[in-house]
Symmetry: C2
Subunit: 277 residues, 2 copies
């Protein structure tokens, strides 16, 4: 398995680096970014927060805009940001921003032509394994994300409660089976049979979660996608019904942008820091 | 004078906003960004830090990537980020990234066709006046910038010591008359007469500065532009010779990117905060 370092920037005493590698799950070359805090060394391995980005993003948006390295440097937490879909000329795509490249939705597609490459759910098993054999990190993992990536983070934590100590999200697509973004993606990637959608819908998964993962969700009340696409109330209701440890906070005036994420990312890092050793 | 608000994002309890206005100095429509901290109101005006960006940047890079709003929110300082040149289809341009639009160099061009619009030095007089009549800010100003904008910030402070209480820069083009970026821009915008260049060269201006402005400069030692383009040693030597209050810090391993800026922007904000009331 080749892995190629393509950039390195010193940041808050640690290093931000980008890598290319051949993904077996996605059947294409993938780029990811990692922030290694100054504490990380072979003698002192650090835990990892995985960050899943939203529609149209790459590994770069969060690393450049969230201001997370400052707190990761203080707390001694590595951050890994994967891309949001398989990439490349041979990878199926769509002209819309909410389908195809940049819009992998963290699921395993079963429908042609998407099923050849779109296995982002499997990639989120492959990538941590690669990270843990390549970098000075422990197997302690937390997961977080924004919008489509918020959906990904909560859904992956709910389905893999033994693999993640905590999960958090900004403005997640909380009930993708019941909103236009999710319905378009799920019907395209998974087909019309809605039974297959349930395994990728956090509000559905929450109803039957057995091993709870501490979960923090922040939502801006001025988010233009709030009512039609995000539906945090479905997550809240499911958590109440199943007595799930979800903390959902609403913030007056904040929108869907990285200005919202930057404003509260410190609290997310400290939330995960409580559970990561 | 019309001024049009085109975006608003809540950020760290305050507001990041973008505006369009007709600039008289530049003879075109210009966009700028302002961060207003939560303390700012008509009853409580706040001082302003002007941030000048580098080659290819707009008003957006610093606001999105530096992480400055967090500290500005704490300290009660507004931040204004202008664009880096005049803009528009009727504005002269060049295919190179270091000339024309995105590369105004904060000078008043005297050579055709540039002299019609390229008056960024004058714009940096026009814009603060507009800011101070439009927003709840005081007339207390500090100025900072990166690379080409670091040159701009130091040069403008040196020439207007009564207008700025403090100045700082990351990786400034310290001696533009003696480096390829500066020579190309100055010869194109100002002509071959090097006497006219001196007024825009911080290392030259420092030699004869009468009223000192407290000045902080951070330079990464792994910056690929350090030796050929930035030449901080010329600034340092001029400051020593004239006993100017310049604090120049070199940082091992850091490059020319916003990861460097983000790592040390807090110290710049607190430096300016000492002088801004």
């Amino acid at each position: 398995m080749s892995i190629e370092n393509i950039s390195a920037n010193r940041s808050f005493g640690g290093w931000h680096k980008q890598y290319l590698h051949d993904s077996q799950s996605l059947n294409c070359k993938m780029r990811f970014a990692i922030y290694l805090p100054p504490q990380a060394s072979q003698m002192h391995k650090v835990p990892v927060l995985y960050w899943l980005s939203g529609l149209t993003c790459t590994d770069e948006n969060f690393m450049q805009k969230a201001g997370a390295q400052r707190i990761a440097s203080e707390l001694g937490i590595a951050i890994v940001a994967p891309d949001t879909s398989p990439r490349g000329e041979s990878v199926a795509d769509d002209e819309a921003y909410d389908l195809g490249q940049g819009a992998g939705f963290y699921i395993n597609a079963t429908q042609a032509p998407w099923s050849r490459h779109y296995h982002m759910y499997d990639y989120m098993v492959e990538l941590p394994a690669l990270i843990e054999t390549t970098f000075p990190v422990t197997t302690q993992r937390a997961i977080a994300g924004h919008s489509m990536g918020g959906h990904g983070a909560l859904m992956i934590a709910l389905r893999n409660p033994a693999s993640y100590v905590s999960a958090s999200a900004f403005s997640p697509i909380s009930n993708p089976s019941q909103c236009p973004w999710g319905q378009k993606a799920f019907e395209t990637y998974l087909g019309k049979d809605r039974d297959s959608w349930r395994d990728y819908d956090s509000s559905e998964l929450l109803k039957n979660a057995d091993k709870p993962v501490p979960m923090l969700v922040d939502q801006g009340e001025a988010d233009s996608f709030l009512v039609e696409q995000l539906k945090p109330e479905t997550l809240e209701e499911a958590a109440k019904a199943s007595n799930y440890p979800l903390q959902l906070r609403r913030h007056s005036g904040y929108d869907h942008s990285y200005y919202f994420i930057a404003s509260f990312i410190e609290e997310h890092l400290r939330f995960h820091g409580k559970y990561l050793n």
